[in-house]
Symmetry: D2
């Protein structure tokens, strides 16, 4: 029942969410040190979350002797440098998403932590939402047959800090900010061993005065034939829209993580206070979630990370996964430029996956395309002629 002592690097919104999770409920893990470039922000953060120590020295934060685990909650362009320092210190590292700004950068990070032999977890919270975990279990258990298509959508009116909007610092726009979530959600549903072969993407800057894309849609083709589809936007109006859909040969799953989760409130505008992340209004019909850090996956994510650390097993989301995500995003950006399908360039460790399969029933040797019951009790068969492939109707009594 030992708890973990954590150094938190960063004091932005995501560091708040992480610490709210770690210090929430009756957890046994605590943040012991917080690092910020700004001593003012560091101290405010430490006070807000009852953290014993804040520092403006990255080295100190990482090397604090009481620290077991370092959490990287910093802008993308700092990940490689910081993780290198952590690897050198031999501490366990948990890094926020995306892992890096490109597949190449991600690969260097991956190589570094593997060489150092440290525990490394990829903080992809949206793969850990309770609904997603349960849905992944259902899919693995066969409830919807072979997965044919996954849609993951993440859109909102745009992020809260300047660096996100800066193509150079972030490594891109809405794809890098939001698409990384979608891609990993998709991979969990089609199966992590299902190789992403190629990507076709559209990206455009439709609304905001920025260089990076503020809207994008991409298709990912996997080895099994399954199609992943993600939609990201920084110009969505109405709050934060997080929805996933999974189609299989035997079933369907729809998940709504934010705007329609069974809590609906109309208010004429009195009252006050925080309702939920990225709400656009505080009056009219509002759709908060219940426990935001639980619904968004933070609780189950850290549980998995620390349990994995204790059990000496890999967590559900590893740095290798983060690297694959970056490789897929790279292909998306190439495709948005080349305007054609682009192969995913990745050092694949996942094995092979067979083609989506559904048993074909037959009637007199012809494949049954579809079978329906008529109102009078007879069966109507749509059959594919075994010789010509032409499809014809057959009504039969039995």
């Amino acid at each position: 029942m030992e708890g973990r002592s954590i150094s938190m690097l960063g004091t932005g919104l995501i560091a708040d969410f992480y610490t709210m999770t770690l210090h929430g409920q009756r957890g046994r893990d605590r943040v012991g040190v917080v690092y910020s470039r700004s001593s003012e922000r560091g101290e405010a953060f430490a006070q807000r979350w009852d953290i014993p120590r804040s520092t403006t020295s990255m080295e100190e934060a990482i090397n604090d002797p009481s620290t077991d685990v370092v959490v990287v909650a910093l802008p993308n362009f700092l990940h490689e440098e910081v993780i290198t320092m952590i690897a050198d210190a031999g501490k366990a590292v948990l890094c926020t998403k995306p892992l890096a700004r490109s597949g190449e950068e991600a690969k260097r990070i991956l190589d570094k932590v593997e060489a150092a032999g440290i525990f490394a977890g990829y903080l992809e919270d949206l793969c850990y939402t309770p609904k997603t975990l349960k849905a992944i279990d259902a899919v693995k258990g066969g409830s919807i047959g072979d997965v044919t298509w996954v849609r993951s959508r993440e859109t909102h009116p745009g992020p809260h800090s300047a660096w996100f909007w800066d193509k150079e610092k972030a490594g891109g726009g809405a794809i890098v900010d939001l698409g990384c979530h979608c891609i990993e959600i998709i991979r969990n549903f089609v199966g992590k061993g299902n190789r992403p072969l190629e990507v076709m993407a559209w990206a455009d800057t439709l609304v905001h005065p920025i260089e990076a894309e503020d809207n994008a849609v991409a298709l990912i083709r996997f080895e099994s034939g399954a199609l992943g589809q993600f939609e990201v936007s920084w110009s969505f109006r109405g709050g934060m829209d997080l929805r996933d859909e999974v189609a299989g040969t035997e079933g369907t799953i729809w998940m709504n993580h934010f705007l329609r989760t069974g809590y609906e409130m109309y208010t004429s505008g009195g009252g006050d206070g925080y309702v939920a992340e990225k709400l656009e209004s505080t009056e009219g019909w509002l759709f908060p979630v219940g426990d935001e850090v639980s619904e968004l996956g933070y609780v189950d994510m850290f549980t998995d990370m620390f349990n994995a650390m204790e059990n000496d097993t890999p967590p559900m989301e590893t740095f290798y996964d983060g690297y694959v995500v970056n490789a897929i995003m790279d292909a998306a950006y190439r495709s948005a430029e080349s305007r054609q399908w682009e192969p995913v360039d990745v050092d694949w460790r996942g094995g092979e996956t067979p083609r989506i399969a559904k048993d074909i029933a037959r009637h007199d040797g012809h494949a049954i395309v579809k079978e329906e019951m008529l109102p009078d009790g007879r069966r109507k068969l749509m059959l594919s002629d075994k010789d010509t492939g032409a499809v014809f109707d057959l009504v039969t009594d039995g």
Copy 2:
């Protein structure tokens, strides 16, 4: 960051939910001993949840020196006897709902723990669902004005153990099993200091071959004028229906805790495994919740209980609340018999609550009943004549 060591009394469904919560995620509290009448069930439970010790002796379970807190997860008819033992042992006690089988019994229990000076928490999980906690905050913050009406509905196809169905052992039927949740949800929304004055109830045994009621609806009138309304049933088809609605002078809240929470799955019937409590089917359209123990309030409930214990403050749900609930249920049963409103007989500690208020706007001294904007931009006023009370329309330019 000290954790608590718990003795769990009982091994039924509710004990499973409690222990799943306590041992779930990265909690620091643990069950150290489990008690069951049956050594077989006790040992299976201990093994299932990795609990060091099981016993068939209630005394041993309560008096185990390592135990801080005793959780009563036993049938209603055992509560008084067991809580008396715990009070005598001077241990903190957390008791499942309902507190007792009657207001009288609840009052004796309350008096006992107050005399013993022990910490006593009432395990009313559904007041602690994350949605409910957030909604109570919104109501307290004024988001929906004065509460005028609360509907709480809890229905399912019936409980899982014989004693629930036995009027004598349970103290009643669906009202005692489910209405206790609804009443306390209602009280949290109208305000716990808002005195429940009287109850009107209908109860009937429509479907099952039992003596207790399997369906009931009750109305509770509070001092402010607000109306509470609960609907309970052991014959609902389609799963477990947990919904609450709150109306106020300035807003509305709708909560769905189970069947429509943003996770929807269609399956042709393949796959297997537990989906959610009290589902009726494993194929077709299913509506699981994400993290059941979080969504149903268990996580926040235990956090509040243990934090209250540590901070030496009362928890949100006390034994006094449990007693008030029993007193209201007593009035409901009396009303179902007498077929008229029955007063709530309770030793009231809650103070007084003023009548629901909404400022009345006036026009030329007449009260404005309603005001509408016409398509041509003029205002239409419906006015109550200050002398006669007759209501008349007035269309005005300004």
Copy 3:
């Protein structure tokens, strides 16, 4: 394929809805004359709906030789007088809801039209919504078994004309305005031959400066044992809430007629124009219906009325139904005063209805209260002892 020529009495909101329906789509029936007290309003209405003639003479409107059918879209307090004139003229009459201000008044109206032998239809639109019609069919077809409970809820922020708010002119408040819909919806689901025995009601004036009730809840007990429950309010915030729920021994039906029908729009507030009846806002999240007159039942209602006229059969909703509704509302008002269940005083034509029934399965002679499958494949039976009635668990292999 003959169309009908209609005299429309009244030019308020409901007359607009009626005429929009009759003149909408490709209908063959037309309004030929409109009556209003005010020639200005009459002419505006005639122009708005392309009606050949408007008049301020009720006699002329009724006796116009081209008129087949007279539609009464006037305030409640005028119904008896006007319907008497129509009966004397021997024209078919369709009267808006409620039929009258009391059961007594309704009975005089009923007697009058029956004596005159004219066709008389009760314009209870909400029983004719396409969802309701389909659901009534499903219930009659046995899809949900015997009906045990019906909830009908109709609430909004209050009506648009002064007379509604005037207890004398309307015959009451929210019960008379909205409860009449709910009662007839309930009757259609429990079965029109299922006698309403007694009513228990709460009514209060919580928010508006009026004498009539602005909020009420009532329970109606039917001969079969089924319970009807209606909730009405003139102080609901968030739009117009029209929902019905039906529970049966074999199923459940939930219907939402307005705020959640699959059309959701967020707008930052640009644009303009009518969105739907009784919306409170034109920005934020809005929930319009598609085709309002279809969704609210007007289309199917007039189709039934005119088809019944042509086929010489009674319509689904007759003046007798209107009279029963008034009798039930009378009992509700008496109960709100007497604070106990009040019998429904009605000249009953509906026959008798047996008690709700569900076959009781047995095991060794004991009634099976509930049966569950355990994870290990064994069956768990909760049995009611055939001699004592005590309920006990039995786990069995087969």
Copy 4:
């Protein structure tokens, strides 16, 4: 108030829906003649819908002197031949979707009817659903600003007749069957004058033993920069999924036309009868629509067609629209082959559309990327440097 007399060509499912609509409610238009290859099917259809005459002669059906309007409800491969006959006969024609099997074929049809000068309407019902019509109005009225993205999804388990599954007869697979709906829905939202420039499509045969695609996703880029996205499938499980989503610079619209429209029913399986098109089951949770022909747009579609004919104006959906749809589908098929964006080859009549625009607010000359209110009341601006384009945060008091 003249009605129309119609010749119905075809007796399949779609002919049933059309006639159900025309003969439903109190319509003044009637089918006078029905044509079928099979006299048995023709006579059954005539009897089912009370049609005076059936014939196996296409010529007779078209040239019947009483016939005003000929409705083509035949398989795709017959459209050109039949419409040519109708044009030669000089009768008005209404043709089911898709207009043709290719843009080329569609163009010949278009040229033919334009040369003949007959009225020609394209029966694209899903653009006429009441929700869609209201949403198009809202978009045109500016409620959601400039449209940036439209998703239209139409999926079900597959069509009911053999010819649909036959690539040659149908002209393709799920794209031709379902994508034609989606494309025209998308065009109505981005604006019909907004030129479709190019298409990127994925198509695959994942589940069924056929040559045509049973799953496809396509992206359509319009001149304004808006992106259309459609998803079609013949292997969806759970019923028929018809959903549309529209994103704009100032708002969002979500429409669900089938599985979640406010009517939810759980049934243990008793009862019987038709519930809705393409439901997969008759027990468990079911989600029927209310009035299917109204909800799916048939009612408003025929109203528009006949009113347009009478007013001598073009209907909302013309043969030119049908031709554009075919041209877009051609590009989709080319893209699925070439694996890159393919231009839409169309004889464009729609004019030009400016780029999506949103006014850029400025602060000290820097473009404001985003603006947020901090909890302490200060404003946080994310600004794009006017010289470098780098984005930086600025916190300001005013």
